[in-house]
């Protein structure tokens, strides 16, 4: 029983990370209707930038904020320079560009910062009051940060004019344009937001998995699965899905198949769930008018 509780909490802790990144994926999906395969590598790159800033002598929080703002600007710039010119290209061509971005960020990070594994500091002190015997302060802190982001984003998308405008631009670009919305600017903003969230996720993940160019690959697969199992158009679903994937992964690995087939078992289970509920657990079924 004690191992079970422990495994669930460990699962919840990694689930918090998946939830965070799944959220970034859902946000960019809501704001652009694309799933950016390079999101994880961009987050990794941001984390490396933060690491370099800390190495240069900055304190954690200034480095954190500079990185988040920098990632926002860089992601928006990528949208403007690379994705926007392709708005008429077939969807798969855009996917190919995402794959290109993925390998570029991966390779350049290894080239500039080296491929050895590094430690990344946690902003939460090791003996903070919210840590317990089951979860370290950093794990609790990560989940708290994920919750704050989702609350903030929910409020932004549901209760502000700008959030509404962004959703409209993604869902129906044609009508939005007729209403005077600058669709391009909204997409750019969506990319920027996703980049910033990804940066936060990366900096939260790094103390667990350590910093190296491949750190986000596995995390991204789980996050993507979490986003889909919750429903790609639902931010709350992304959070639920992320935590679910984290817990499932740990329980299956401990009790059913062993660590060899952990990833396999988790993914197969996720796909089976999707076949029963094709739009995800909390997603809306899209109804098409003909």
């Amino acid at each position: 029983m004690e191992t079970l509780i422990q495994q669930v909490t460990v699962g919840l802790a990694s689930g918090g990370i998946y939830a965070c990144l799944a959220l970034a994926l859902v946000m960019i999906y809501q704001a652009t209707h694309h799933v950016n395969f390079a999101q994880g590598e961009m987050a990794m790159f941001s984390t490396f930038v933060a690491w370099a800033l800390i190495q240069a002598g900055l304190d954690y929080w200034p480095a954190f904020f500079i990185t988040v703002v920098g990632s926002f600007i860089a992601s928006a710039a990528i949208e403007f320079a690379i994705i926007r010119p392709l708005h008429k290209a077939p969807e798969l061509s855009v996917v190919a560009v995402f794959i290109g971005l993925l390998v570029i960020f991966h390779s350049v990070a290894g080239w500039i910062f080296g491929t050895e594994i590094r430690e990344f500091p946690s902003p939460f002190p090791k003996d903070a009051w919210f840590g317990g015997s089951l979860m370290s302060p950093h794990q609790v802190g990560t989940i708290f940060v994920a919750m704050c982001i989702v609350a903030g984003l929910f409020a932004f998308f549901q209760h502000t004019t700008l959030g509404l405008t962004m959703r409209a631009a993604a869902q129906n670009p044609g009508s939005s344009r007729l209403l005077g919305i600058s669709v391009g600017r909204m997409l750019m903003l969506g990319w920027g937001l996703a980049g910033a969230i990804g940066a936060v996720a990366g900096m939260m993940v790094a103390p667990f998995v350590f910093l190296d160019p491949g750190m986000m690959t596995g995390v991204l697969i789980y996050a993507f699965a979490g986003a889909l199992i919750g429903g790609i158009d639902n931010p709350v679903g992304a959070i639920v899905g992320g935590f679910l994937v984290g817990v499932l992964e740990n329980l299956l690995g401990t009790y059913v198949v062993g660590t060899d087939l952990k990833l396999t078992a988790a993914l197969v289970l996720i796909v089976s769930v999707l076949i029963v509920r094709p739009a995800g657990l909390l997603g809306r079924r899209t109804v098409q008018r003909v």
Binding site: P90, L92, S93, I99, L228, T264, I270, V271, G280
Partner: protein
């Protein structure tokens, strides 16, 4: 008026496989390809064989993704299925020429078995499901329960077949020519499939599933069959590549292979038959070229080349060729 009708018929023609290549052009191309067996040697011949094997797999993926509109990030898994089927069969002393169709059939069954439940999934969800396949299969191949067949992490070593009937060809040359023969065969099958009524049904489902269904097309049957046929193509490609490499191991079929195949389809041209050749050349040579240009950041170079290509030719090489043909037609 004249212009618009030409454009309309040409855009329609893009989907039709036979318009680009007349039988005469195909014969010339095949003759050039066959003569390569005498000019090229050793590694170059091996590369040419691999290009053909990839081209077959790309035709398969394009049938599914380009013509039927189902995205797959997992065709590397079917490629691996074909390769491993061939290797295991040859270990059981089945001759290679029999093992290849069997490998294709096994991949087809696997593809159908996957495609049937995956009917419910669309777009991103299908992408995830297929991606799962490409992540899962290498792990399964390594799994210790299957080790007696798959050889585990170590894989299986194969022996290249010699030319039959005492034909004076080295086994490299023979392997290349044999692969070329199968490639021609597979391209013919694909062309006939695309241009047939079945091909029109497959395309109609891509363009508007509901309209196609109301015309009496059983979309469930066609979609899962397309999955199966597409997997069979990938399996044959995989089997031929295994024959050329003379070795299969789980690490040759990582998810990167699946992603490369999708990239190959995009570079060649989505929904085009002959684009597969250009896509296969890209898959085979661009990583090497990138390695030559910059050792430290070869993949960054690869990414830049890929993005530049998509910028220059959003619809792939065949998209560009078709556009040039239309503009010359209009000018005349």
């Amino acid at each position: 008026m004249q212009v618009s009708s030409v454009t309309a018929s040409s855009t329609h023609g893009v989907d039709q496989a036979s318009t680009f290549m007349s039988p005469r052009n195909i014969l010339i191309l095949v003759a050039i390809a066959a003569s390569l067996a005498y000019f090229a040697q050793g590694y170059v011949l091996f590369q040419a064989t691999m290009v053909l094997a990839y081209a077959i797999a790309l035709v398969g993926l394009n049938l599914l993704t380009g013509y039927n509109g189902q995205i797959s990030l997992g065709h590397g898994a079917f490629f691996a299925t074909g390769a491993y089927s061939l290797a295991i069969l040859m270990n059981w002393d089945v001759p290679y020429w029999l093992a290849i169709p069997i490998a294709g059939a096994i991949s087809m069954v696997a593809g159908y078995a996957f495609g049937r439940p995956a009917l419910k999934l669309q777009g991103l969800y299908l992408a995830l499901a297929t991606f799962t396949l490409s992540v899962v299969l290498p792990q399964l191949l390594k799994y210790k329960l299957f080790q007696p067949w798959t050889g585990g992490v170590g894989g299986i070593v194969l022996i290249k077949p010699d030319a039959p009937f005492g034909i004076p060809l080295s086994s490299d040359q023979y392997c290349y020519l044999f692969t070329l023969l199968i490639t021609v065969l597979m391209f013919l099958i694909a062309r006939n499939l695309i241009d047939s009524g079945t091909g029109r049904a497959i395309r109609a489902i891509r363009d508007h599933q509901m309209a196609a269904t109301s015309m009496g097309i059983n979309h469930q049957h066609y979609k899962s069959m397309t999955f199966g046929v597409s997997a069979a193509f990938a399996g044959v490609g995989g089997a031929l590549s295994a024959l050329a490499v003379q070795f299969v191991s789980p690490d040759s079929f990582t998810m990167f292979l699946s992603i490369s195949l999708l990239v190959g389809v995009v570079v060649g041209g989505i929904g085009t038959l002959w684009g597969a050749i250009f896509g296969a050349v890209f898959i085979m040579f661009v990583p090497e070229l990138a390695e030559k240009l910059s050792k430290d950041s070869a993949w960054a170079v690869y990414g830049v080349i890929l993005i530049l290509l998509v910028f220059a030719m959003p619809k792939g090489v065949m998209g560009l060729i078709n556009r040039l043909r239309v503009s010359t037609l209009v000018r005349n």
